[in-house]
Amino acid sequence: MFAGIDVGSLTAEALVIHEGRIVGSEIISVLPNPVDSARVVMDALLSRKGLTWKDLKYTISTGYGREKIQHYGLAQETLSEISCHGSGAHTLDPEVRTIIDIGGQDAKVIKLDAKGGLDDFVMNNKCAAGTGHFLEAMSRALGVGLEDLGPLAMKAKKPIAMSNRCTIYVETEVIHYLQRGASREDVAGGITMAMADRVVSLARRIGPENKIMITGGVAKNKAVKAALEKALGKKIAYPNLDPQLIGAYGAAVYAAAKGGSK
């Protein structure tokens, strides 16, 4: 069996494959230390499936602290998130040429060639606008759970366009609209548009090409996906695997290719 471990800024994922099929996967909230996150998430997966660490022939770690995870013997090799996302998305759908990956604290747009190799990529990890953090701050301002923001935005009749970009200023703007009696649905719709706007301007820097797949935790927000499609004027595919698991899946696929030939 082969495994991938992906430790992000907010969540950590583990995934195990056997003969090309997914045996199991697990997602947890991160612990302060990435090595602990890696151990806990894999322990949870293994014990749920009645497996042990010994069953894992080759493991690749990716994400934050991936070197440390390897150093502590939890993985045999490390690989960048970009390569893992590329491998994961390509394995799920070989037609994918662009991946839009929106995580808790960053957003990446990755372009792949026909073989699934890395062609180009851009990343925003400097500004919270256009990342999961933005949606978290806005759902707090709206007084709804993060998972309720998408459904609320889908019900917007007339989304209110936000005039700011900065998370901090948009938060003030949201409160202002709510105080003036705007509906939470319309404000949520505007938040979604603002989010999509930031990600699209990032994507345009490398020119997204079909087929486009969305990954990362924010992909689960259907309203964001719809707003991205509208702003880009292109369809976006949703993976047939939890979009938060693509990195760990790609790592496991690599692990199988590397470890299987050893």
């Binding site: 500004c127 998370t167 105080q179």
Partner: protein, 256 residues
């Protein structure tokens, strides 16, 4: 000639009463939701602090985000022109004024006549603004008034690497959770603000003769760090730097 200058800012509204070159009355209030009513009260209060009645005022100059809500203004001008005019008039040798306000950092190039030659503003992003400083202080349970006092206790200035206010806030929380002392974190926050202010000033040639304006310029820890980073000649504004733009509105109204 008695003039009033009123600057309705994003976080604070400021008003001054000037008799020639002297400030004879001043007042600063927080800007909240009811701006028109607040400005009305602000003007009444500032005239009271100067001990004058409305009929003695020759001119009311208004500026700031909420300029349209200053009823009875006889003169209106943008904040860059006003801040530049105040710096140019009171500190003739200054060629650059960096105005760090509630929601923006503005570098203003000033010509020999004290007029605005050019300016550069970041108001798209909260980094380095008064709002940024306020958020970080709030995470430490401090008000802006305490910043200097607490930062003075610092022994090791912590590193805040993010420019984004949201990410910097997470860093502050991490430092608090790691048990770092408040002084060290507060000094780290001041250093982050000073870095952003200096970076913009440097891009705009603030190295020679410059001054710092706006509410953030009241924080000595930050002005000291900016001076150290920029070098050159720093000239403090002769009055409360938070009042500079309001002073400029009064000056320009006077000469109009």
């Amino acid at each position: 000639m008695i003039t009033i200058g009123c600057d309705v800012g994003s976080l604070f509204s400021k008003a001054v009463v000037m008799d020639g070159d002297d400030i004879i009355g001043k007042k600063i209030i927080a800007t909240t939701g009811r701006i028109a009513a607040e400005v009305h009260d602000l003007l009444k209060a500032v005239m009271k602090s100067a001990g004058i009645s409305a009929d003695r005022v020759d001119c009311l100059g208004a500026t700031g985000n909420g300029v349209g809500l200053v009823k009875g203004a006889s003169f209106m001008e943008d904040t860059v022109t006003c801040a530049g005019a105040a710096a140019g008039y009171f500190i003739p040798e200054v060629r650059c004024a960096i105005d760090v306000g509630g929601q923006s950092i503005t570098s203003i190039a000033i010509d020999e006549e004290g007029g605005v030659r050019n300016f550069m503003r970041n108001d798209k992003c909260a980094s380095g603004s008064g709002r940024f400083l306020e958020m970080m202080s709030a995470k430490l349970g401090l008000s802006l008034r305490d910043v200097d006092k607490i930062a003075a206790e610092a022994r090791n200035v912590v590193n805040i690497s993010s420019q984004c206010g949201v990410f910097a806030e997470s860093e502050v929380i991490t430092h608090v959770n790691n048990g770092e002392n408040k002084g060290d974190i507060m000094a780290g926050v001041c250093s982050a603000v000073a870095k952003m202010v200096s970076a913009q000033g440097r891009r705009f040639g603030a190295a020679e003769h410059f001054t710092l304006l706006g509410g953030v310029a009241k924080i000595d820890t930050i002005t000291t760090m900016v001076r150290k980073s920029l070098g050159g000649h720093y000239h403090p504004f002769p009055f409360d730097p938070q009042l500079a733009t309001a002073v400029g509105a009064a000056l320009l109204g006077d000469s109009d």
